[in-house]
Symmetry: C2
Subunit: 352 residues, 2 copies
């Protein structure tokens, strides 16, 4: 049994997407038990339409919902204890649930999760990890925006957490991992990336195969299973890629509807286009994982539909089933033990 708590009010469409999304995920994984948090009048009538989901769920009425545009500090002030988002997170804290999934306000979710669950021992900063479709399958990219900037030791923590997630999600023994960098050598700056590369090489981990530096175009190429960077550049990379995918889809749509021949060609090749659309479907890889807290938090896109939300629930399910949290805790503990026999990272002279 996997116990999943849901912030039913989260996302652009709230219960209208979350309830049918949860029902879909339940079809695929009948061993899920849901804890649903939301405003009674909005949730219960909808829940009645999904008897199987209702039977597999416990409903908790909450007083209020966090708005999608609310500032994190305000959300925390107003919603602490009382909102569906807070209570869904707290269910992980109290042990009622193994993982929480929300399509709500990202900033508010991160702030509340930090406040409620706290970071794991040994982790200074959490990271948001996204699953990225590549030419070879899927890769994990982190941090895509939880925090801005990271020193070498924090990048090393991200590497451990991303590696553990790759082992849990892709069921690999020793995922390959790269540090995101720019190609031009010898330019000033990013000492922390170079230093993190040195730490990773020296650590010689038996469950992470450190590849070295990768560049922005290596992500889509699938050069490595895990790409590590700090949150600003990770967020820019993710959004730039999403923007480019939308842009090309738009070009394609325009090109295929321009002439009669193109339209006819489109009809004949419709199966191929459908496959392409499925490949490019952002809903398929919905569900970023907030790593480094005492509990697993899954962030779904706010504007997704039921299928997309179900994909985010699937990610949460896989993370629990494959013991993500224990994997991260193990790795951290091992690294700390090794640390004691080695100089602290700060003592190692920079390479440049």
């Amino acid at each position: 049994m996997v116990r999943i708590s849901l912030d039913v009010m989260g996302g652009d469409f709230g219960p209208k997407v979350v309830i049918p999304g949860a029902a879909r995920a339940l079809e695929r994984h009948p061993d899920i038990r849901f804890s649903l948090f939301g405003i009674e009048a909005e949730v219960l009538p909808l829940l009645e339409q999904f008897p199987k989901l209702k039977a597999a769920s416990t409903f908790h009425a909450t007083e209020l919902a966090i708005a999608m545009d609310e500032k994190p500090s305000q959300a925390l002030r107003r919603g602490r204890g009382k909102s569906s988002m807070w209570q869904a997170i707290d269910a992980v804290n109290t042990g009622e649930a193994d993982v929480i999934v929300s399509a709500g306000n990202t900033g508010a979710l991160m702030a509340m999760a930090m406040f409620c669950l706290r970071t794991m021992p040994g982790i200074q900063r959490p990271a948001l990890a996204a699953v990225w479709p590549t030419l070879k399958g899927e890769s994990i990219v982190l941090d895509v925006g939880a925090t801005i900037g990271a020193d070498a030791r924090q990048l090393m923590d991200f590497a451990l957490m991303g590696g553990a997630m790759a082992r849990a999600l892709f069921e690999l023994d020793r995922p390959t991992l790269g540090l995101l960098n720019v190609g031009v050598e010898e330019i000033k700056g990013q000492e922390e990336v170079k230093e993190a590369g040195r730490l990773l090489r020296e650590a010689n981990l038996d469950n992470i195969d450190y590849y070295g530096f990768v560049e922005g175009d290596d992500i889509g190429r699938g050069t490595v299973d895990v790409v590590v960077t700090e949150g600003f550049s990770g967020n820019i990379a993710l959004k730039s890629a999403e923007g480019t995918a939308r842009q090309i889809a738009e070009y394609l749509r325009a090109a295929m509807s321009r002439t009669l021949m193109a339209k006819l060609g489109y009809l004949l090749a419709k199966g191929a286009f459908d496959r392409l659309r499925e490949k490019m479907d952002p809903r398929k890889v919905n569900g970023a994982v907030f790593l480094g807290l005492n509990g697993i938090v899954i962030k779904s896109h706010g504007g997704t539909d039921a299928e997309g939300f179900a994909a985010a629930v699937d990610v949460g399910y896989d993370m629990v089933r494959n013991g993500l949290k224990a994997k991260i805790e193990n790795d951290l503990q091992r690294l700390h033990v090794e640390d004691e026999a080695q100089p602290a990272p700060g003592d190692v002279a920079s390479e440049v």
Copy 2:
């Protein structure tokens, strides 16, 4: 007449691409006069095949060529004074040429250009500006990798230079400009981006329409004419977008060759696919501009073909024709005059 110096040895294919590329650009702009720098035995036999280009060019024999994988410091040591790259840059310095175009080693080109041409008065750091195809046409993104990190004042300089380039390249009076940022509010870090936003808003420039912050997906959407960021995230954005474009092209190719129906559809819609390919053709927007030096330096992709190299020459031609350098100098001078009546940027308290 526009005088362009070429590093004929630069790029993965050297003269084999540069010479026919220059010949194509000359067809489009018969008023170009080229100064060609390269190794005699490799350049002259090829030049014989392009009599029009030969007539419009002065050839200068150089001793050596910079390798594509040479480290910038080594290239500078070995190639200063003697290499085709150095001499082509120096032609701008001595006044023989108005602009230099090279498909050579990016790091070496930046180092040599910095060393030979020096930064403009008032500019602390140069920036590499790329022309980015968008849903609305084209935008300029800078810095895409000249330097890593930038403080608020340097971002402000990038904004002025990018704005001047947009006026020169797109012939706009008051281009819109955004600062690249991440969406989540209230997270720690990137104070320099917030501060730069404040400086730009307060400067209230009459030739730049400051839009505010933009995110990674706004670039491809064409939300603004100019996107400003520091070199690390700019490089990551550019490479991620390039990687995604290649990835989707690969999906499309695979989908269209999978079944007989798809192949037939492809044939019928071939005209549409050709248009799409043209839209996505990276050669069309080849030619990044190295801004902030006492002279204009154009960097072509190293692996491009003759058509791509010609596009980079076109960019150089447009920059000279539209007086890019004078525009930047004017803007900088005006800002410095305004500065004197205002507190220095460092004195302004951060917003957070």
